[in-house]
Symmetry: C2
Subunit: 407 residues, 2 copies
């Protein structure tokens, strides 16, 4: 896709945008200032919804966002009336400092559930973050870092896309994982800004589609968070429209998909405790839904994830996971291979098992399972359904991190 060019600098590539980040201990605050932007978002489908999610849903009714406040360290979830008051307090703080209307400020939080917000320390970090707003690459990086919880590296992506009419626009985004990652909308905090001109409705439609093949196709632990938010803003700084006669430019849509998939893969790669990255490609499924079920079952299987961690070529667990995924499957015609960056080996070819003990197939499989990137390819031979899902191995460190999270 030569109309998409990945560029460095994160949010700094977008004009009329300032961002910042600051941190004190486990509490971080990132600010995104993009005055008068069209905006929409996708949120968690968890029935327990954090206060900032409810708050921001209300803000987005107007379709205009000028700033986003994000804090890490406390999810402000299951915090009752006080949770809403805390949202209002923080939004008011940002509104006064930046002199923008409070009903154009979105808010998102990530961290422990069921603890009241430590409003004093978060306010303090908020002021520090506000004082650092800027448009350099270092500002974007600071913002990406300040929303991290158990993430081990900041996650940014920026692309320049040449539209079908020859004009170009940019899209940039940051995201954070890295536990409570399950495929069911949002699944994390993610903030995307484009300099294109796009209406809130068109943002919503494109973002939903992009999230569906990116953020919704990664699994770390199968736990869906109460705070998942993926918010996208279009500040129009490029002066370029990407929707004409009701049709979104296909190149823009592709670029947004590309960016979301890039951010999603970074999240999967940085899943809590992860040492390896897993990609599951399914083709030939009866339909799209079946392909999604099968690919997600593979990367969600605790048993297969543990086998990847140990470099154990226990490919029977792939078969078993597809079998219970709910998708249609005929074991007699399925083809299964695994690959890494240098080799690909068939384990099962049109139903015939190749990778029995003491075969070169199993030896090669063993080597591949020891790679940093393990790719599973399945051809069901039943139809046209295709999907890809991403995940990571299950490690001692996942357990360790989550055994000690609040303490």
């Amino acid at each position: 896709m030569n109309f998409i060019k990945e560029i460095d600098g994160g949010f700094s590539v977008i004009e009329n945008l300032k961002v910042s980040g600051a941190r004190e201990g486990k509490f971080g605050v990132s600010i995104i200032l993009s005055p008068n932007s069209n905006a929409s978002a996708v949120f968690t489908s968890n029935k327990v919804v954090a206060a900032p999610v409810k708050y921001t849903k209300n803000v987005l009714k107007k379709g205009i966002v000028s700033a986003v406040f994000v804090n890490s360290g406390n999810a402000n979830c299951f915090t009752g009336e006080q949770g809403f008051k805390d949202c209002e307090t923080l939004v008011e703080l940002v509104s006064k400092d930046l002199k923008i209307p409070s009903d154009e400020i979105a808010i998102a939080s990530t961290g422990v559930i069921g603890r009241e917000m430590p409003i004093d320390v978060i306010s303090k970090v908020a002021y520090e973050s506000l004082s650092k707003l800027g448009n350099g690459p270092e500002n974007s990086l600071a913002a990406a870092k300040s929303i991290m919880t158990t993430d081990t590296f900041p996650k940014e992506c920026a692309v320049e896309v040449t539209l079908t009419n020859g004009k170009s626009v940019k899209i940039a985004g940051i995201t954070k994982g890295s536990g409570m990652i399950a495929p069911n909308m949002g699944t994390m905090l993610s903030f995307i800004v484009t300099d294109a001109i796009v209406s809130p409705d068109e943002i919503n439609k494109a973002l939903k589609k992009a999230a569906n093949i990116s953020f919704n196709m990664i699994v770390v632990d199968g736990d869906e968070s109460t705070n998942d938010t993926c918010l996208m803003m279009a500040n129009g700084a490029s002066g370029v429209e990407v929707v004409n006669d009701g049709q979104m430019d296909p190149n823009f849509r592709e670029a947004l998909n590309y960016l979301c998939i890039d951010l999603a893969k970074k999240m999967a790669r940085d899943g809590e405790g992860a040492t390896k990255f897993i990609e599951a490609n399914v083709c030939g499924a009866r339909n799209l839904e079946d392909a999604r079920l099968a690919s997600k079952a593979i990367i969600s299987s605790s048993l297969f994830k543990s086998a990847v961690f140990g470099g154990d070529p226990n490919w029977g667990r792939i078969v078993s996971a597809i079998g219970y995924s709910g998708c249609d499957l005929n074991p007699d015609i399925v083809t299964i291979s695994i690959a890494d960056d240098v080799d690909e080996v068939d384990l099962v070819k049109k139903g015939e098992i190749l990778a029995f003990e003491d075969t070169p197939y199993l030896e090669r499989a063993e080597k591949i399972m020891q790679s940093k990137n393990v790719i599973v390819n399945i051809d069901m031979d039943l139809g046209d359904g295709e999907a890809t899902a991403w995940g990571c191995d299950l490690t001692y460190d996942y357990v360790k991190i989550n055994a000690e999270y609040t303490t």
Copy 2:
């Protein structure tokens, strides 16, 4: 339930029944000899089905089983035509040795998927096992031990039940876990024999109901096996009918439920790598299905399981798990408590959060989370739905065991 008495001795309490077990390395063989018994079974719903499951489904069409052959160490799954031939070879071996018709011999396997059966070693262990058939408690224990894979202790249960007409019958069973345990029928190997007179159809109906509130309510890792089999036989040795005028004696039904729940809880307690036992009780759900969803979501959450391992009172993860379970939930009226064998503490009472930081509630919760048995009680206050699910913590050892399984 004073009409149910738990008794020692496993299968030895049943007359006209001989069992045995033998092992060589990771390969074990158990034999259950119960001539001319009515029989039925529930099986895995995985679409990839092991050869012995297909084989035994066919045997059960007649409704009569005289012997069961069980091997551990190899699942005989995804083994093509050879897998069926191996089933036939082993059944033939048993048939000749015991002089019973081969079409009355059921077979079950557990172990690695996608490897051909090492038929020589398994045949050898089979002959050894056959030579040890007997009806003492030590024979039952040997059978329970020989079906183990990563289980750390053998699992037996036997009960005597006084029927409503004053007569009594017995039921005994053995089972094995301990990974690939997910709530979707069977979920393990389990063999149950009663000395009551019951038809195959009646066994089937009662067994399905019992499995639904026992084996189907435990989760270790959410991976459903390709070999799950729960087979029940009635050899009629007591001479007592338990179905009269088409109605099964309610006490017999209760006793079967009791036995299955006991075996299921033992599996949960012995989940791979487990150090702690978790019970989730949900009441007040909109309906039964909702109660099952919520209770299983709690014990399935990798995050909550890790928190239990670490003794971390991160109760927000309980809330989050219920929220994404798919059940109906109103956070404003829910009541959540956790308990161990000595204390019970409310975390959330009718929607009001009590267990904030620096409260005695959270301190007590912390202590409970460090117990060997952690019980979660949820009252949704929405209806009459009630369910209980059982599981275990997620530990370093789960990862270790499954990172090195085939090697």
